[in-house]
Symmetry: C2
Subunit: 119 residues, 2 copies
């Protein structure tokens, strides 16, 4: 079987692919961010989940400044090769609001409900 | 608290927002697809997860033809309001390849490994 080649994934017009981060131990979905082919390669090489920051136009080693790192447990590719799922061990909160997950707002009975507070 | 308004989400240049579908009972991430504001509204109104098919340029009521429907348990919004997480009850396989999840390929030791077979 040939080795995995990040260039065989399908990237959007900006050369990016969405990556869902899921806590390996609990299954909680933590966040979604974007990777370039080089970010995919760096993630696999280093075991530290590395995104491409669209706002800063720079590599974003998750937790590099906050300490809230994501250690890669396993990278998965979807059927269309245009989305990634990273199983991770998250240190501290994943969200920049200091919440465990970015998905802390639920829509219930037509209202927005906050599910978790900053840690 | 004001009611939830799909138009307050942040859509990309094509008017779409990514939505991650997660099996509510197990936490398994099933797939990622795209929604327009109208698809978000229809999902909440009907309780049947409804995407926007980019290839067909049409609403895509998941399972409408295959029977592999996704019943909405809860819709969640992320911190930046540019990604959704749908907790669902999935009937049958979520993937068009008849696998339970679209994320059936893992990258292990630089090789692609298939984790599950068609049902």
């Amino acid at each position: 079987m040939p080795g995995f080649d990040p260039s065989t994934l399908r990237y959007d017009a900006n050369g990016l692919i969405p990556c869902i981060a899921q806590e390996a131990a609990t299954g909680e979905v933590l966040m979604m961010a974007w990777m370039s082919a080089e970010a995919v390669a760096r993630t696999l090489e280093t075991g530290r989940v590395t995104y491409w920051s669209r706002s800063r136009a720079a590599f974003w080693v998750k937790g590099e400044s906050s300490g809230h790192v994501q250690e890669l447990v396993e990278l998965r590719v979807d059927c269309d090769r245009d989305c990634l799922l990273a199983l991770v061990r998250q240190t501290g909160p994943a969200c920049h609001t200091n919440r465990r997950s970015c998905f802390y707002t639920a829509v219930r009975d037509g209202q927005e409900v906050e599910l978790m507070s900053p840690e």
